[in-house]
């Protein structure tokens, strides 16, 4: 089990939704993503909890691309991983942002 926090600068911002959104499920090869409003406006905080140890560099690359791709400033993302591949992680993150985006206050 490995847990870590990564904080990225992101100037892009969503019209944030009032309710936190969850995407995915915690089953083998999958993951659960929680998106909610964060504390700092121009940064995105991502908490990762994963059973696989020693893949910090790959997480960093996957999350870097995610932050570059999506307007995530001011968000707090929590990832509860159950051994998902990077492809699944990227897909779920995008889906979670979409779900968050679609619900307008």
């Amino acid at each position: 089990m490995e847990q870590f926090v990564m904080i990225f600068t992101s100037t892009g911002r969503l019209t944030t939704s009032p309710t936190p959104r969850v995407c995915g499920v915690v089953s083998s090869g999958n993951l659960e993503v929680l998106v909610e409003s964060g504390d700092a406006e121009n940064s995105c905080r991502i908490d990762v909890s994963t059973p696989a140890e020693g893949f910090r560099d790959i997480w960093k690359a996957v999350l870097n691309d995610f932050v570059e791709r999506q307007p995530v400033g001011g968000l707090h993302v929590t990832i509860n991983d159950a051994g998902a591949t990077p492809a699944v992680v990227s897909l779920r993150l995008d889906q979670a942002i979409d779900a968050f985006r679609s619900e307008r206050p």
Binding site: G29, A52, F55, I58, A61, V62, G83, T85, P86, A87, V88, L91, D94, Q95, D98
Partner: protein, 553 residues
């Protein structure tokens, strides 16, 4: 008249030897029929030391009773055998080697016995002549590896010894033809002996003996994939394949490899491909086993013809009810033929697409891993350019123009694609700098690393990141970056030259989903034409009868 001199050549030694064997066997038989209890003695009586023996083992049908009986023969009598067969799939095949009754093997595929085989090779207890592709081995049956004794499997025999091999005819005609016409002995195990066969697949005068096996021969449902296990990533890759490859080239004739990645494509034809207006324009003619996951596409009218290497357990009634699609005899059951379907896949199909375990930066791919000698099967026959092909089609001509340039002699090229998720479970990368095949070749003393598809034949790679049109690359550097450009977060992918990959994207050589107008969010299981085995049964109108372990309702 002169008496024949001592130097007069004798031209029928082999025939005389075969006749002697047949006569020795006849003492144990009633006509051509042998009782199950006498089969071990028959094998000991007929087989001579040093014989080339083929124990029919295809990737589905297995002459399992004859294999088990051969293992029980006296090693003092039955020894120094040279096994020449498609598949070393049964534990008995390897038991025979362990008992020291086999000195040499030539084969194509070893499946579940890959680990034991590698151990025996490393211990020096067995020599491998070569690991072949199916067509290559069948070819050698008619040149320098003709079986002396063939132990085959059929569904039924009549009293004369005519055989009905039915939907799972598979390799039987190729084996029997080589053996029976070159002074060999053919022994068949059958499930039933009947007065009248539904049809004759193998005539009695090509068969020397048959035995009713105590239990029906085993058939592996190798090509059944439960749609419930198809992931969103596989659905995304299938969307990329359909839009970026099938629609792009207008591919009508094709072969799909085994696996969930291609099953996803089959299940997206009636939904995603139909929405794109591709019905009748792609995937009309197939060299393919009767995949249950193709049922919805057939029912939707996508498919015009399917010729099969073998059958698939549970598909018999569905096939029989669709004779316009499948190759069905007047008796109502399908006839498969591995040799012909492999030839069709090689020469008559525009596309081969399959999955693999590893791809290197030259585009070579392999399923070999250290400690497992798994062999090739048929993929290399279909996953290689058919240089002898002379008939044109739009897809083949276009690939040829892209791959060979415009200033050479006009010529087409086979489309050969690999579809893989960049990382498998436990983060095993599909993209590597060096194939494990090199280590295997070294440890097993092979002359060549066992490569399934050579880079020079590979035209496309599809991953969840996108599609690489390798056929459009101008030089090896571009190819390498195109491969890295779809290799995701593997080390090989992270080592890409980002600027060069962007250049390849601008030129349409690397395409990501957004470049193809694919919305990744649409990649959900809602897009599958069937989401479970039960859905497949329903789509077939109740004609598909899945094996019990695929039933969960």
């Amino acid at each position: 008249m002169n008496k024949p001199s001592i130097n007069t050549p004798i031209w029928d030694r082999e025939r005389s030897n075969c006749k002697n064997r047949r006569e020795r066997g006849a003492a144990l038989a009633n006509g051509r029929e042998v009782a199950a209890d006498d089969i071990i003695r028959l094998l000991e009586t007929i087989i001579e030391p040093g014989d080339r023996v083929c124990i029919e083992g295809n990737n589905q049908k297995q002459a399992d009773f004859l294999a088990k009986s051969l293992v029980k023969t006296d090693p003092a009598l039955v020894r120094d055998l040279h096994l020449v067969q498609s598949v070393l799939a049964l534990p008995e095949h390897v038991d025979l080697i362990e008992q020291g009754q086999v000195s040499l093997i030539d084969f194509s595929f070893s499946g579940q016995q890959a680990g034991r085989l590698a151990t025996l090779v490393e211990q020096g207890r067995i020599k491998i002549g070569a690991i072949h592709t199916y067509l290559e081995l069948f070819g050698r049956y008619f040149v320098d590896l003709t079986p002396k004794v063939a132990l085959i499997a059929a569904q039924m025999a009549d009293r004369e010894g005519n055989l009905y091999t039915g939907p799972n005819t598979e390799d039987t005609p190729a084996i029997v033809e080589a053996t029976a016409f070159k002074n060999g002995i053919v022994i068949a195990q059958v499930n039933e002996v009947v007065d009248k066969l539904p049809r004759v697949d193998i005539p009695a005068d090509w068969v020397d003996f048959f035995v009713k096996a105590p239990t029906p021969h085993y058939i592996e449902p190798l090509f059944t994939r439960d749609p419930a296990q198809i992931t969103e990533i596989q659905i995304l890759m299938a969307m990329i394949a359909i839009k970026g490859l099938y629609a792009e080239y207008g591919i009508t004739s094709l072969n799909h490899g085994i696996g969930f990645d291609t099953a996803a494509i089959e299940l997206l034809l009636p939904t995603y491909a139909a929405e794109l207006g591709l019905k009748g324009k792609i995937c009309t003619h197939w060299a393919l086993n009767p995949h249950p996951t193709l049922i919805p596409a057939i029912e939707a009218g996508f498919v015009q013809s399917v010729h099969s290497f073998g059958s698939e357990v549970g598909m018999e009634n569905y096939i029989a009810a669709r004779p316009d699609i499948f190759f069905v005899g007047q008796d109502g059951s399908m006839r498969s033929n591995r040799a012909f379907s492999q030839a069709a896949g090689h020469y008559a199909c525009d596309l081969f697409i399959g999955s693999t375990l590893q791809i290197d930066m030259g585009g070579n791919s392999s399923t070999a891993t250290k400690g497992r000698i798994s062999g090739f099967g048929g993929a290399p026959n279909m996953g290689s350019d058919a240089r002898g092909r002379r008939h044109a089609s739009p897809a083949w001509l276009r690939a040829g123009r892209e791959g060979r340039g415009s200033n050479s002699m006009p010529r087409g090229q086979k489309l050969v694609a690999q579809i893989v998720e960049t990382s498998r479970e436990h983060m095993q990368p599909a993209f590597v700098e060096r194939l494990d095949a090199w280590d295997l070749a070294e440890s097993a003393g092979m002359e060549l690393p066992p490569v399934m598809i050579y880079g020079e034949d590979l035209t496309h790679i599809i991953t969840e990141e996108g599609i690489a049109h390798l056929v459009r690359c101008q030089n090896p550097e571009e190819r390498e970056q195109a491969i890295r450009g779809v290799a995701g977060y593997t080390q090989a992918g992270l080592a890409r030259d980002k600027r060069m990959v962007e250049n390849l994207r601008d030129r349409g050589i690397v395409q990501y989903p957004q470049d193809l107008g694919i919305d990744k969010r649409m990649a959900t299981r809602d897009l599958l034409a069937a989401r479970s085995i039960r859905d497949l049964v329903r789509a077939s109108g109740g004609l598909y009868n899945p094996p019990n372990h695929f039933r969960n309702w």
